[in-house]
């Protein structure tokens, strides 16, 4: 049989593409190398009774338009907004975060009265940038070097979109997209802890330090999502992030799609310059009218397509696409809720993000270790305990703790990671938490430690880069993944890319998968069914 489409990889974007194509009437098969689905939006039970969010751990970017189009709540998806969070200071103090505006202002004022009020101005300014970028998320980026009518039409649309902006706002935007988060925050704030807290979103998943130019955009990338219209808010997926891909898979199979797990890809089959299917590693061939890869562009093009089928300049561009990994992850099963003596008993702080990095300088020092090819000796950690809200992931009274860690390089001093390196990395992180929560380590029942090595080996992320390619300005919009191929196409006809290597990039957003489906359907001259355009929120 010849499928209408075969999709390589059952990550969230691959499944989003699969769902839209199936709804448009295509016969679609998804192949996944692991015995489970989910890619980096995955929840596995590695120790009995405990479900983890093994990679990604919070949700905000996932487009509500997609949730609605694909009826994901009906298939089990529920997003839980959370509140709280705190930065624990080295001197024993803390900075807390609250959903209530006035509680938050008073807490900030405890550290700096000026910053407490500056925060509203800062939020307004970042939201202005969100207002500009959000409508671009569900559109194929226009190629300014092309004279195809659609690109010209899209450029006109962007022109109109920008004509509402003042000259000053355009200048602000260009500055914001190119400057460092440290410089940006200096415009608004004076207090080091407040700055350290706000800088976090600019380094997550990024091989940049807070003082590196370009880091401010990464903050925007983490700010532009929403939970039910609250822009910048984050939530948990009930049951772990795997609930997102489980719901996508259920929606997909309900419309007739097929998923084959335990089916690693060998080569994309190319005939006369067109993709005609895929040969699995076990030799089985799946014939399809089009092949769509959810893998990152490097893995797709450099490992699974014969180089002879590709123009040399394209291959060179793909090789140069930056995918430097920068982060690791600890998933911990806990016997009880840990105590942090610095925080008041019963306060909501444990229900949000906990950080221990109380200045941008410390964050930058952590990055310095990465630059010299070592994991951070004093790492930045984003610690969350989703089970303070989600009753489904552990037995009552037990907890799951997710620790996102920076920085961890793809290679240790130029060589591959070893198990000993990984264990040392894990110990460094646990020791840091223990300093703020004495007795913490006694609560630990099980730990999964993931370095870029594990992320690449298991999830397939080249160099362990969680965004399938860094989110720097040179790799965004019409330059993502490489100039001339931002429209989800590749030099091989009928071979498409739908993952986070494409516009608008990484995070559990689903937008690349949705946009790829829109292009594929247009190319196939099939009307898209149930596909919403971006909604206005701000």
């Amino acid at each position: 049989m010849i499928w209408d489409a075969v999709i390589l990889g059952a990550g969230h974007n691959g499944l989003v593409t699969a769902c839209y194509l199936a709804r448009a009437g295509m016969k679609v098969c998804v192949v996944e190398k692991n015995d489970w689905i989910g890619g980096a939006a995955v929840s596995r039970e590695l120790t009995p009774g405990f479900t983890y969010s093994n990679c990604s751990y919070v949700s905000s970017l996932f487009r509500p338009e997609i949730m609605r189009d694909l009826e994901l709540p009906r298939h089990g998806l529920q997003i839980l907004p959370y509140e709280g969070g705190a930065v624990l200071k080295e001197d024993g103090g803390f900075l807390a975060m609250y959903r209530d505006h006035d509680a938050n202002r008073r807490e900030f004022a405890r550290h700096s009265p000026r910053d407490a009020e500056a925060y509203d101005i800062y939020s307004r300014d970042v939201q202005r940038h969100c207002r500009f970028i959000r409508p671009l998320l569900l559109r194929t980026p226009a190629d300014p070097a092309s004279f195809r009518p659609r690109d010209i039409g899209e450029l006109i649309w962007i022109g109109k979109h920008m004509s509402g902006l003042s000259e000053q706002q355009i200048a602000e935007m260009v500055r914001f997209w190119t400057m460092s988060i440290s410089d940006y925050l200096d415009h608004y704030f004076e207090n080091p802890v407040i700055k350290a807290y706000l800088a976090v979103s600019a380094i997550i998943g990024t091989a940049l330090g807070p003082m590196s130019p370009g880091s401010a955009y990464v903050l925007l990338h983490h700010y532009m999502g929403d939970v039910d219209g609250n822009v910048g808010a984050w939530g948990f997926a009930r049951g772990g992030m795997g609930a997102i891909t489980r719901a996508l898979a259920a929606s997909f199979t309900a419309t007739g799609g097929e998923i084959r797990t335990g089916s690693p890809v060998g080569k994309v089959l190319v005939k006369n310059g067109r993709a005609v299917g895929v040969a699995l590693a076990n030799g089985d061939e799946i014939r399809a009218k089009r092949v769509i890869s959810n893998m990152d562009v490097k893995r797709t093009m450099l490992r699974h397509v014969e180089e002879a089928e590709l123009p040399q300049d394209y291959v060179s561009s793909v090789r140069r696409f930056k995918t430097r990994g920068s982060s690791g992850k600890l998933n911990i099963a806990l016997d009880a809720l840990p105590r942090f003596p610095a925080l008041p008993e019963g306060a909501p702080h444990l229900r949000g993000d906990l950080h221990f990095t109380d200045s941008i300088e410390r964050m930058e020092r952590a990055y310095d270790d990465w630059k010299s090819g070592h994991f951070s000796r004093d790492p930045f950690q984003d610690v969350m305990i989703p089970t303070t809200i989600d009753p489904t992931m552990t037995p009552p009274g037990k907890h799951f703790m997710s620790c996102f860690v920076q920085y961890a390089p793809p290679k240790i001093e130029g060589r591959d990671w070893t198990d000993a390196d990984r264990d040392a990395f894990g110990r460094t992180c646990l020791d840091q938490i223990e300093r703020y929560s004495p007795g913490f380590k006694d609560l630990v029942l099980h730990v999964e430690v993931r370095t870029p090595r594990e992320l690449e080996a298991e999830v397939g992320l080249t160099d362990g880069n969680i965004f399938q390619g860094e989110l720097t300005f040179d790799q965004l919009l019409f330059n993502r993944p490489v100039p001339g191929y931002a429209n989800y196409r590749t030099p091989v006809r009928d071979l498409w890319i739908c993952g986070s290597s494409t516009h608008p990039g990484g995070g559990v957003m689903g937008a690349p998968g949705r946009n790829a489906a829109a292009e594929i359907l247009r190319d196939a001259k099939r009307p898209a069914r149930d596909m919403s355009d971006a909604w206005a929120v701000l």
Partner: protein, 395 residues
């Protein structure tokens, strides 16, 4: 001797007030049938999320409660209400409604059969004159017991876990059934009922035991995420479930100033309740005529609206031009990620073809007018399997 001062304290405090006031971080109160109840304890979105994710306590003491007892209570209520009480065994609850002689809905509510000859009717509005008049000729006593019974709704997917931890075994309790439990020196009645469309229970207790019950539930429920929820969160939950509320989705017949505001059960989508064969009941003749002559003038419909702007209070148009109806309840549903509405449409537009909604979306003071096509959709909007599962799930 002076009586109570109604001028200085028109709103009563419920028996749970010592605890609800301590929990009410914003001191956000709203009047409800003569009581002061929490509109929001601090964050309605989080409270709503707890209804769908964990468990919540919602003080429903202000619900109007009538005690209807006597040898002919069943016959009296069979004549008053639309459903057949012969099919309601002791220990069961019916969601029901009743009409005036013209077949127009006076209210809807829940009817509890506490004993063979003893019932409790819970509803939004007050109906004592109508109930007393309807009871003429029946050997039955009717009295308002609103202040004599404290009630709290425990709703959400972990609500059964909360009750189990609190020592009340509800594993065999099916939807619309109730059971009596000993509590302190008295009794506690637990019914598997609610207004959220989710797994949930309502707990009925003597006012003197109310605070002890609240404390016991909050202490045992903490590991299951139990928090108090206010009216804003509960009303969002009821809208996404698609349930009707008197005076929000229909005007009770006895209150309508304009004669065209009243609705029949057929027009409110409650036709399924009517037991045409149970013998005579108030409004039967008018409803038969309406049914057989297809005289319904209105239809209540569930609508799915594109985008994310809630259509509360919006007007519906046929072909973008001719007025065809109006929306009574609407929300962006955080649970379903859909933009939903309950609407009245003129009967000839009941299919909702070529129907449009005019929404005024406020963006920083200024309204932007949207004209969007609507699609008819099933009600209840939210009806998860866990709401009916017996034994109930852990979460």
């Amino acid at each position: 001797m002076t009586g109570p001062r109604f001028d200085t304290a028109p709103l009563l405090e419920t028996p749970f007030h010592p605890r609800t006031t301590a929990a009410n971080r914003l001191q956000n109160w709203a009047g409800w049938s003569g009581y002061r109840t929490a509109g929001c304890y601090g964050d309605s979105e989080m409270e709503h999320s707890a209804i769908r994710n964990a468990a919540t306590l919602y003080d429903i003491t202000p619900m109007t409660k009538y005690r209807i007892a006597g040898p002919e209570a069943e016959a009296c209520l069979n004549r008053l209400t639309l459903r057949n009480l012969a099919k309601l065994p002791v220990g069961s609850v019916q969601y029901t409604a009743w009409t005036d002689d013209a077949g127009k809905v006076m209210d809807d509510g829940t009817l509890f059969r506490i004993g063979p000859d003893r019932f409790r009717l819970c509803c939004q509005e007050r109906h004592l004159p109508w109930l007393l008049d309807s009871a003429q000729g029946f050997d039955v006593e009717i009295a308002d017991e609103t202040e004599a019974v404290a009630a709290v709704a425990l709703q959400g997917p972990t609500s059964a876990s909360v009750l189990t931890a609190a020592g009340f075994d509800v594993s065999a309790l099916k939807p619309f059934r109730m059971q009596d439990y000993p509590f302190r020196d008295g009794r506690l009645l637990i019914s598997r009922t609610g207004f959220t469309g989710d797994l949930g229970y309502e707990l009925w207790v003597a006012p003197t035991d109310a605070v002890a019950l609240w404390d016991h539930l909050m202490a045992q429920g903490a590991p299951f995420g139990l928090v108090p929820a206010g009216t804003e969160a509960v009303m969002l939950a009821r809208t996404e479930a698609g349930f009707l509320t008197a005076n929000l989705d229909f005007i009770p017949a006895q209150q309508a100033l304009r004669e065209d505001r009243v609705r029949s059960p057929l027009e409110l989508g409650l036709g399924w309740m009517i037991d045409w064969d149970k013998g005579h009941f108030t409004g039967r003749r008018a409803l038969l005529a309406e049914r057989d002559g297809q005289l319904s003038r209105w239809a209540i419909v569930g609508l799915d609206i594109p985008g994310n702007v809630s259509a509360e209070g919006s007007v519906l148009y046929y072909g973008k031009k001719r007025e065809a109806g109006f929306i009574t309840a609407a929300c962006w549903s955080p649970t379903l990620k859909r933009n939903l509405a309950i609407a009245h449409v003129a009967a000839r537009y009941a299919a909702c073809d070529d129907l449009w909604v005019e929404i005024y979306a406020q963006r920083e003071l200024q309204y932007h007018k949207l004209m969007l096509p609507v699609r008819k959709t099933e009600r209840p909007f939210f009806a998860p399997d866990r709401r009916r599962a017996t034994p109930p799930g852990r979460f």
